[in-house]
């Protein structure tokens, strides 16, 4: 049975479970809260969030941290909704 990169149940692995923990950074809390804000305004729902995450190229999905995946999905959704124009966020970040 075909499986997508996020579908991990029983995925063969010898990797130990890294039990170290970190307190969520400001930017991570912000990403989480941004999703909530968009959801309350009916611009994005949790199923769209998951779908966007699942659409990441597999190598990117595996390399990205948890909230980096969320941000990818949020940007994907906002572009799809026409809220963000292509390159608009990059232009905002450029020095």
């Amino acid at each position: 049975m075909q499986r997508a990169v996020h579908d991990r149940g029983g995925w063969p692995t010898d990797a130990p479970i890294d039990r170290s923990e970190h307190e969520l950074a400001d930017w991570e809390l912000r990403t989480d809260a941004l999703m909530g804000a968009l959801a309350r305004r009916d611009l994005m729902n949790v199923d769209q969030l998951r779908r966007g995450i699942e659409s990441m190229p597999p190598e990117d999905y595996e390399r990205a941290s948890y909230y980096e995946r969320w941000l990818f999905s949020i940007e994907t959704r906002l572009a799809e909704a026409g809220v963000l124009a292509p390159g608009e966020l990059d232009a905002r970040l450029a020095p």
């Binding site: 049975m1 075909q2 499986r3 149940g9 029983g10 769209q48 998951r50 779908r51």
Partner: protein, 93 residues
Amino acid sequence: MSYRPGQRVRVEAREHQGHHRTPAYLKGKTGTVERVHAAFRNPETRAYGSDGLPEQPLYLVGFAQRDVWPDYRGRADDRLFVDVFEHWLQEAQ
């Protein structure tokens, strides 16, 4: 709600392009309905901008671990429980 607690059900072994919440490891496996949950909006369509209606019945289905994994290491009566939507289930023997 088509299924009742105690009923044997099989998870459909079909490919599904796009967002869905039935894990690959479960497709084609047979288990027993443990619990009948309420019905919920369909994530497969909500993920693409639909309202997800009509709501789909959701079940907690229990599987013998040794029925899911060929080389399962544990007790014979260990079980795995997964929430599965009705449209992914069929009656089984």
